[in-house]
Subunit: 283 residues, 4 copies
């Protein structure tokens, strides 16, 4: 994915002719579709699509694309957006003291694997300042004594940095409802269980008590209801009776970081479309 | 595992010297240990062990083994049992109309992969009679109009056939509490979800509603509380937004039968020791 | 997938406008696209696509579809075909003595999970006759003393039964080159290793010797070069040092049958397009 | 695993009474066995065992343990060793320019997950100096113009730093035979394919050419024959026709680092015993 691309995502009521209309629109301007995915949700009869188009194949820029496409979009009653791969998404990361997800994301960022900008990292502890700043990324400590003030500051930093996504990389604090609403579909959390099993606190302890034979991790959009938002990605790993809670925590870290990295990648590549409390993920 | 073996399973309060005492007992009679596994549960400080010994390496039969070992067992306050691989476990299977687990178990039985006897299959429908009887296995239909009478008959058939294990191979009926108690640790169910997620009815519909990205199956001992008994084995399989409930049911069948077959194998090879509401599985 | 569908598969040199042209063709006749997948092979610059269209949404039958579409196909230099879900694929199965794959396929067939017809089963042994005939499926024994004559008979049976696909369900015999050529892209084999590791005879013994930590199975189209044809599906399962060759064979059976069933499903649903010695699988 | 432990590993010709003799030796000194594993190799009739004993349960130190145990060891013709968890293994890491494995190992080290010392990192490039030195770990650049001199220096650094293990974390250079021999069973490599498939150079390109549906990674001991040493750990991940070589490289990084981290953990915890060209891994 080195050449510049426009990514068009659409959702609208299902009917015949949508693919034809959109594809013809692209074709009549000489657009070269590199990747195309479609889905119809059976419950809501809603149609979802995503197309990646080579930017250099189109005779105009994004603004004109938007202006021209708007007419078509209206006809089909589409919710839609188009993004430009040259415009990197800006991802603000919230952490606490555990750094395995942060370490993983920063490596993917600095190796160029994950094509994002990280304008800053925010934490309620100072432990990870040195590591973050070594990367040349600003680090902001926000004390949690006064939670309302703290989250006002988080929100200010997110907006000041023009954040596209806010990632809770094992942040361990619950976001207030108004932030969940304001940034709906833009706040991504990694929960250390296979949801809906073991929502809430200490999921590995819950898993140990129940005696499950696999543990998991879940990457999801944050909503007002704790650990109940639309799921983007999940995975599990096998454990057995010999594994203590500490062993589970250790195995868990490996799937937490992998699942978060995959979920975030899907999000910043505009592969995730929300459909009620579920997601369509065009991998 | 073709040569005849004795399998010794033990649980007792943990202390030093247990392995030495048991191993020395075996060694002083020339016993050849083929497989040995140990575990200490951190919460209960209970010790669990399993040893397979070549039958032909010992100078006496099982009765004398039991008599001699009883002295040692008493000293360490052991719960214990020893079984003989020449004595196949007798497994009674309960089914309804869905036959994927039954088909799978019968194939493993007739190919000799699963070293069990199946004295009979019991069902509340007649649909699978022909297939079962083709195998030369008696098929009993038990109508569910009067549930109390039905389960009295199930219990009678299980005992008349000297069943060692009762397998609910997608039986879709809830066992009455008194049977759960009477046959505790001997009744095995396959539930079509990754427990504790989606206990109870229609788990694939629940999974579809929640939008999970993996579905699973759980093999567990049946207890009075529905789908809450000790878990023997679990597995998951990846799905995505494109999969309907029917697709999940189809994927699910494949893990249901695999998970049940593995769980049952562990059980009949005396690899499963119950520890509270959890299991130790010496694979 | 209960409603009747037409499945259109296409491959052609890549250029802009293909999706638009095909989608517009479908749309202008009111066709309702239920599933659509696209792929461009980077090496050959060949484009591949598959669309499922609701049959009842089109105002004509398959013949007229074919006649009309041929004009478009010519313009884009397409290799293409369209199939009707009401016309079940006819799958002839070759077996030897091992029956785990056969048992699995017959169950998927009789439960309606796999929407195929099985006009006959052919074997070089009589062992599985009873099981096959219980299903009401003709069983033909073909002795392998004279291989040339034997495969002439296999070929005759396949053609007499108007077979669409020939499945080697652990057949253990090598197909002669002329049959590989004549039925190219229609003969499916399950090999009991993760190819290209351990091609040829006794793969589990080879795996045991090498000390690998996972074993696998591969479903592929048969070509003249042994175990070297285009791969349709593969999977692996974890083993460890404690597993004997016999254990591997046992674990292996479970992935063999799953991998074959998945590969065959993809094939009969026209999800597999061959691209050189590789496959595009639109799952 | 916080309390101090002695880990005893043994291999010897199989006979009856070994477990009893060793367990009794431990028990008669009050030793508390925390973990115990056994295996008999069917081909060589060699017996392998590993026991972890709480250090504070024994009335003597490691030297006296060794002196006393030597008598027993001689009787059974044992190869054996005992290590002390308080004595961290010293792991020297070799890297080139790719840093995903290095980043992963350094995180596991600095978070305390992997209980090792890293006396230095050696590389033929200077790219990773800053990152390594940020951790307070010495970084040595060894130019590869004169390979003989370079590996003499690698060897000198390894011995000067009293290295217990030498890890090739995507080092991309072939170790000379004399080093393979001198450090046999102590040099660990991560190869970016599921061996024995795709040994040698550019395995992801090889995998892409062959059209496999899973790719893998292999952690193994280095021997004179390239990519042919005893395998410690492997894993695979699913790909499909849509994945380019670059995508495979990206997926591959995630399994490479996981497989290497697991393999190295097994090694430093004395869980890996070499048996011919295979390994026994007591997880």
């Amino acid at each position: 994915m080195n050449e510049r691309r426009y990514t068009l995502t659409i959702s609208c009521p299902d009917r015949t002719g949508i693919i034809a209309a959109v594809s013809s629109f692209v074709a009549q301007h000489g657009g070269w579709i590199v990747e195309a995915s479609y889905h119809t949700d059976d419950l809501t009869r809603h149609f979802f699509m995503r197309q990646e188009i080579r930017a250099d194949s189109l005779p105009f820029e994004l603004d004109e694309f938007r202006a021209r496409f708007a007419l078509l979009a209206e006809e089909f009653d589409m919710s839609w957006q188009v993004s430009d791969s040259a415009q990197k998404k800006r991802v603000v990361i919230l952490v606490s003291k555990q750094d395995h997800c942060l370490n993983d994301l920063l490596h993917r960022w600095r190796s160029g694997e994950l094509g994002i900008d990280i304008p800053c990292v925010i934490s309620n502890h100072d432990d990870l300042r040195g590591f973050v700043e070594w990367h040349g990324i600003p680090f902001h400590r926000v004390e949690m004594d006064d939670k309302a003030a703290a989250f006002t500051e988080v929100s200010r930093l997110f907006e000041h940095n023009r954040g596209d996504a806010l990632v809770l990389a094992r942040f361990m604090q619950i976001l207030p409802p108004q932030l969940c609403q304001r940034y709906a579909g833009r706040v991504i959390n990694i929960h250390h269980s296979f949801l809906p099993s073991f929502a809430g606190a200490k999921p590995y302890h819950q898993a140990y008590q129940r005696g499950v034979k696999l543990i998991g991790a879940t990457c999801h959009y944050v909503t007002e209801e704790l650990d109940a938002g639309p799921i983007i990605e999940q995975d599990t790993v096998r454990i057995d009776h010999g594994d203590s809670v500490e062993d589970m925590v250790r195995y868990g870290r490996d799937i937490e970081k992998t699942v978060l990295a995959r979920g975030l990648r899907y999000h910043v590549e505009d592969r995730v479309l929300v459909c009620g409390n579920k997601t369509v993920v065009f991998r």
